[in-house]
């Protein structure tokens, strides 16, 4: 799977749109394993600031990531209305905490455009494309780099 095909879903594919703060983001629905309500995470010592802790998903311990913090949008304050999106990233599963899950979008031809070049590799690393909807611009997130590779490996090892 090359980068272009892996990063831009084909028409007919479906996306989960989530809300972080006032901003909407989209996640490929095929990367989503489950959507849960917020439960308090068990803190993980010496974890990075965007790692909120661990959670137990039917016996499997998975890290809980503050997606907003990871995207550089500031620390989230999880509450009863917060939602944990359990995503399959590579071989690892992790919980991504967002403020809400808004909708399920169906990708149409030409809906997704490449992100504008702003001279920042970080932006293109996390944003695979942008699309315009009635409620505004939605960024399609590329979850491959949510966690560094070593962390992903650690998570995979932990999951194994």
């Amino acid at each position: 799977m090359d980068i272009s095909t892996s990063r831009i879903p084909l028409p007919g594919a479906e996306l989960i749109s989530v809300r972080i703060g006032d901003q909407a983001y989209a996640i490929d629905i095929m990367a989503v394993r489950e959507i849960r309500g917020w439960t308090a995470a068990t803190p993980l010592p010496h974890a990075p600031p965007h790692v909120l802790g661990m959670m137990n998903l039917r016996g499997a311990i998975q890290p809980v990531i503050d997606l907003g913090a990871r995207l550089g949008l500031g620390m989230a304050e999880p509450g009863p209305s917060s939602v944990v999106v359990v995503a399959q990233i590579g071989d690892a599963q992790m919980g991504l905490v967002v403020d809400a899950v808004s909708d399920i979008l169906t990708v149409t031809e030409g809906l997704i455009q490449p992100p504008p070049s702003v001279g920042s590799i970080e932006s293109t690393t996390y944003v695979a494309g942008v699309m315009t909807t009635d409620t505004g611009i939605v960024s399609l997130l590329s979850l491959d780099h949510i966690l560094p590779a070593e962390v992903q490996a650690t998570a995979v090892a932990a999951a194994a």
Partner: protein, 481 residues
Amino acid sequence: MLARLSITWKLMLAVGVSFGVLAGLTAALRAAKVTGVALVASEVILAVAVIVMLSVTIGRVIGRRLSEITGALSTLSAGVYDKPVQGVQATDAVGEIARALDGLRHVLAESRAVRAGQAASDLAAEQERRRVEGEGAEAGRQQALVVATLAEGLSRLAHGDLTARVGETFAPQYEALKHDFNVAMSQLQNTIGVAVGATSSMRSGADEISRAADDLSRRTEQQAASLEETAAALDEITATVRRTAEGATHARGVVETARTNAAESAEVVRKATAAMGEIEGSSRQIEQIIGVIDEIAFQTNLLALNAGVEAARAGEAGRGFAVVASEVRALAQRSAQAAKEIKALIHASGEQVGQGVTLVAETGKALQVIVSQVAEINGIVAEIASSAQEQATGLHQVNSAINQMDQVTQQNAAMVEESTAASHALANEAVELAKLIGQFRTHDGEPAVQAPAPRARAHAPTRGGSARLAVVARQDSWEEF
């Protein structure tokens, strides 16, 4: 007179003889007293008869002694009474005659002595009378002088001249009269002079009294008018006070009703506060239920999302399931939206209920204040009512006082009328008195007081009549109030 003495003597002789001789002779002697001629005749007859009878009766026996007695009688007839009658010592009838003759002689002697004394005294009296007549002539002249002088003085006095004095020198016995006359005239002059001054003062005083009485009458009329105005104002005040009392009574009723209403309103406020609290409780319960519904919607949404995820993973096989999941998600979102709206409404309702509770509590406090203020108003209105009652009592007293003043003023008016008439009469009398006094001349020159023109005389009757009419009119007007 000698004839009468002779008659008396003969009568006495006959009486003395009659002791010894006949009673008829005595009766004849008495009968012989009737007339002068008859008396003389009878005396002669008697003497002759006695002599004859004595001569016949005694005769010769006692002829010598009878001759003695005859001699004695002759002596007596000659008017010689100092020769004693002989033979008085005899005890017979001749002795008795002698003794009677001697007694007659004594009687005659005494009678002559008495006659002599009487003549002497008559002479002395005549001399005295002549002396007195001599003196009386002098006294008559003096008296005429006195009478003329005093008459002249009294005549001047009669013409009102009090300056008349007696300057002539009177006899000593009339000096006192002159002195008394002059003193009396001086006293009279002084008195009249003082009376002149007093009359002038009295006239001016009477005029002042008249003017003062007129002023008093006018002021009494003004006082009556003021009294009438006072009575009218008092009536208005009485009516006002009565309206005040009625208004106060009405206000007491209204205030009592307001107090009752306020107390009932306080109960209503308490119930409203309780109802608001119940509404608040119900709103909290509704909020909780809404929270449950919202939670259910939230979970339903998550379930639908998971279903959508699973359907997407299932590919074409999960297409229909995805539609159902989408519908369920729509329902869950509508439920969540409805719950959200209800929550907002409940929240707003709760805020409004809170405001309502606050307002009702303030209303209750305001009603409490109103109740207390109404109580104060009640007290004030009660004071107003009692004050109005006191005012009514005071006005009653003032009314009676005004009535008394009215009566007193009427009496004063009557007295003023009387005193006005009396003062005018007094002024007239003073004028008359001045005129009378003015007729006297108390010093040289014109009479002291010119009789003034009786100006008040023509004035007084009309004044009295009009004043009387005025009094009647005033009484009529006073009776109206």
